[in-house]
């Protein structure tokens, strides 16, 4: 079985410099994903000595497999709930139960290794939407301390240094440079979305994707393998941190990447400064790595957990948490999905996930009385087992037997999911806290998630589900149905939990990602987001990281840390 398709690419260099734990390096970075990878590159190329601690292994494309059973059964690329559980409750009045609520990439490159690579920029509105909309009860809806214009040069860095393929659309926010690579082909899903959108008076644009459409130095172009979401790229076309920014950091000779390093605590001194990071190595031996400064890039769930687990006499409520804001305002993005079956073969299982997008509802007509907005794509990201065990067939289908088998055989190649990706509101009551009793396999208090969607958002999700079905009908689907809209209890987007702001009483980091409470602690990842955009946060996380990297390097160079 051709389980692997590999180009003869030169092997990725994994031989990094080695620092002693007692050697106080300039920066310890916790996490090697979307933000951690960029920070490692920016700080090491600026001349600083950097140690990156990653809880997962350092795999490369030679290790990646097209085996859905292995991927999911073994949590092969992701957090392993069996050793690192979490609890969930909808509100603080409910009893939190042990049930998986988060999924993120575990390994060098983080979630960028297995994501779908949809790279939408945020737009001007995303940074000022709160003041445009007005206050909403029950939320901490706020404007950002920075604007799109301030972030634009760093979005461009993401395009060029990480690698994004696309073509500017008329509705795009202003951009200072074109895309470095042309867009990917439309696939049947894209052609159908173009036709459906046109019928509704909308336009489908080539999707901006962090996937190489042309070869890049040391990287192959996408071969449209079809197993993108959930899997590692075997030709280095997906612009993961693993193949884009981390190799650059390693090549400086100043950046040490330490895989299999599970961080448990950030240590501080009596002056309230960070002194280093305590972590467990692969053999569960505890090591203390000294550092002049620490950058936390562990994602919107693990970052607040680490801060809350880093209590001390000076920081009794958790590190950098004098405001009590750490872990609050958790956002997932939201959305609505409808599915359709078409007369002819779509073969959505071939090729990348989403080739075309519709942004006509990015901002909504105020007459609708809804907050936020979003965008649509057509996709088919269900692996064979996922499709057949329950996610793919119409809800009234038999679940086994002759007719079930007939439907599987007919529908697998003809089904499309229309995803409406939307905003969701930041709420102080949606939180990551520490579970009072449940611990992980290392004995560290586990994540307790409290999350319930705002009623406004549930209305928005329903609106987008309805429009998703409209699109499928307009594209000529023979049969359509909706996925039910309900308050979310599981997410791969973990955002807003250490929000950025000018006021130390209402935010965790300043606009340069420095913790208000701790001068040599920086936090850069999904937790920094003030609002969550329209469903594709990674590009903004990386733009923030490029911007933070530049400023933090400047502070360090001027002795301002």
């Amino acid at each position: 079985m051709p389980d692997h398709v590999h180009l003869s690419l030169p092997p990725l260099d994994q031989s990094t410099v080695q620092y002693a734990p007692d050697d106080a390096v300039d920066f310890v970075i916790v996490g090697s994903g979307a933000a951690g990878g960029v920070m490692a590159k920016e700080l090491s190329t600026a001349g600083f000595r950097v140690v990156v601690l990653e809880q997962g292994p350092w795999r490369t494309e030679k290790d990646f497999v097209h085996d859905e059973l292995k991927i999911w059964n073994e949590a092969w690329l992701t957090n392993d709930f069996r050793v690192s559980p979490n609890t969930f409750r909808a509100t603080a009045h409910d009893k939190a139960r042990v049930q998986p609520a988060i999924l993120y990439g575990r390994g060098v490159g983080g979630t960028t290794v297995h994501f779908s690579a949809n790279y939408w920029r945020f737009r001007e509105i995303d940074f000022v939407e709160a003041s445009r909309t007005g206050a909403i009860a029950g939320t901490g809806f706020a404007d950002w301390p920075i604007t799109y214009q301030e972030l634009e040069p760093y979005y461009t860095k993401v395009d060029w240094e990480v690698g994004v393929a696309g073509v500017p659309a008329p509705s795009d926010p202003p951009r200072s440079k074109p895309y470095p690579m042309p867009p990917h082909p439309p696939k049947s899903t894209g052609v159908l979305l173009e036709q459906g959108a046109a019928k509704l008076g909308w336009t489908a644009h080539p999707a901006p994707l962090a996937i190489a459409s042309t070869p890049l130095p040391g990287r192959g172009a996408c071969i449209q393998c079809g197993l993108c979401l959930g899997f590692g790229c075997e030709v280095r076309a997906k612009s993961s941190s693993l193949v884009s920014v981390i190799p650059v950091a390693v090549a400086t000779g100043r950046c040490e990447v330490r895989p299999d390093s599970y961080v448990r605590k950030i240590e501080t001194d009596t002056a309230g400064r960070v002194t280093g990071v305590k972590y467990f190595d692969a053999r569960k031996a505890e090591i203390f790595q000294r550092a002049k400064a620490v950058v936390v890039c562990a994602n919107g769930a693990e970052t607040p957990r680490l801060l809350l687990n880093s209590k001390s006499q000076r920081f009794p409520h958790g590190l950098a948490n004098s405001s009590g804001v750490v872990g609050t305002h958790l956002m997932f993005n939201g959305g609505g999905t409808s599915l359709g079956v078409f007369e002819h073969e779509v073969n959505g299982f071939k090729g990348l996930v989403a080739s075309r997008v519709v942004w006509d509802l990015y901002e909504l007509d105020p007459a609708l009385g809804l907050v936020g907005g979003g965008g649509f794509d057509y996709r088919f990201d269900l692996t064979p087992i996922q499709f057949a065990t329950g996610d793919g067939l119409p809800p009234d289908s038999p679940r086994w037997g002759r007719e079930y088998k007939r439907l599987l055989a007919h529908n697998y190649t003809r089904t499309i999911e229309c995803y409406g990706h939307t905003s969701s509101l930041p709420m102080p009551t949606n939180t990551i806290t520490l579970d009072p009793t449940v611990k992980d396999a290392w004995g560290i208090p586990a994540i307790r998630m409290t999350y319930q969607d705002h009623p406004q958002d549930l209305r928005l999700y329903k609106y987008f589900t309805d429009r998703a079905e409209d699109l499928l009908k307009a594209s000529g689907a023979v049969r359509t149905w909706q996925r039910p809209v309900e308050s979310q209890a599981f997410s791969v987007h973990l955002l807003g939990t250490c929000r950025m702001g000018n006021d130390p009483a209402t935010s965790v980091v300043d606009k340069f990602h420095r913790a208000h409470d701790v001068p040599n602690l920086f936090i850069v990842d999904g937790s920094s987001l003030v609002t969550c955009g329209r469903g594709q946060p990674t590009m903004t996380i990386q733009a923030l990281a490029f911007r933070a990297g530049e400023h933090v390097a400047g502070f360090a160079g001027r002795g301002e840390i």
Partner: protein
């Protein structure tokens, strides 16, 4: 209990041996076990025959191959020796449950595999209706055995993938489907 290929075939071919061994269940199973008789690691021959019969109702053999031809039973057997080790007891109990239900709908039936197809379907439908956890496990395992990579022991000769139209080439160029044939 290990069932080596040899003893399995010996049982099939020899009533005397079977009586000698006084393992009537195994004898009955042997006569009905359709897949090539490779060794089972976890299942007894009797349990394998009943589980396989149940899987063959989840994904039946009709004009095209089903769970039986995809060797789903070997997938489950291997799973219970590897990533699903912890579930062995549930499956042994599950096979027993199938047999006891079979006896209830047909007093002559010694095994689930013995039942007429429509009665097998009735038994499974009642398990599904009563939300018996083993039914969901059986269903999911049968489907996974059809569609997981063949290296896991099922999806023999890509039977399951061929059934749904999935192709594991993992390199594609346009056109991807009917609608982008002119794109």
């Amino acid at each position: 209990m290990d069932q080596s290929r040899r003893s399995f075939l010996a049982l099939t071919g020899s009533t005397a041996a079977a009586i000698w061994l006084a393992d009537v269940d195994a004898l009955l199973a042997a006569g009905r076990h359709a897949a090539t008789a490779d060794a089972f690691i976890v299942f007894s021959a009797a349990d394998a025959a009943d589980i396989e019969a149940a899987c063959a109702q989840i994904v039946p053999t009709d004009e095209t191959p089903g769970a039986r031809e995809a060797r789903v039973i070997y997938f489950i057997d291997k799973a219970l020796d590897t990533f699903a080790r912890g579930q062995r007891n549930e499956w042994v109990k599950g096979a027993r449950l199938l047999r006891s239900k079979a006896a209830r709908v047909d007093r002559a039936a010694r095994t689930f595999a013995d039942l007429r197809p429509e009665l097998q379907i009735a038994v499974l439908a009642s398990l599904e209706k009563d939300k018996v956890p083993f039914f969901q496990e059986l269903r999911n395992a049968a489907i996974a055995g059809m569609l997981a990579s063949p290296e896991h022991g099922g999806n023999f000769e890509k039977t399951g993938w061929k059934m749904i139209g999935f192709d594991d080439r993992f390199v594609w160029t346009a056109p991807f489907g009917w609608y982008d044939r002119d794109a």
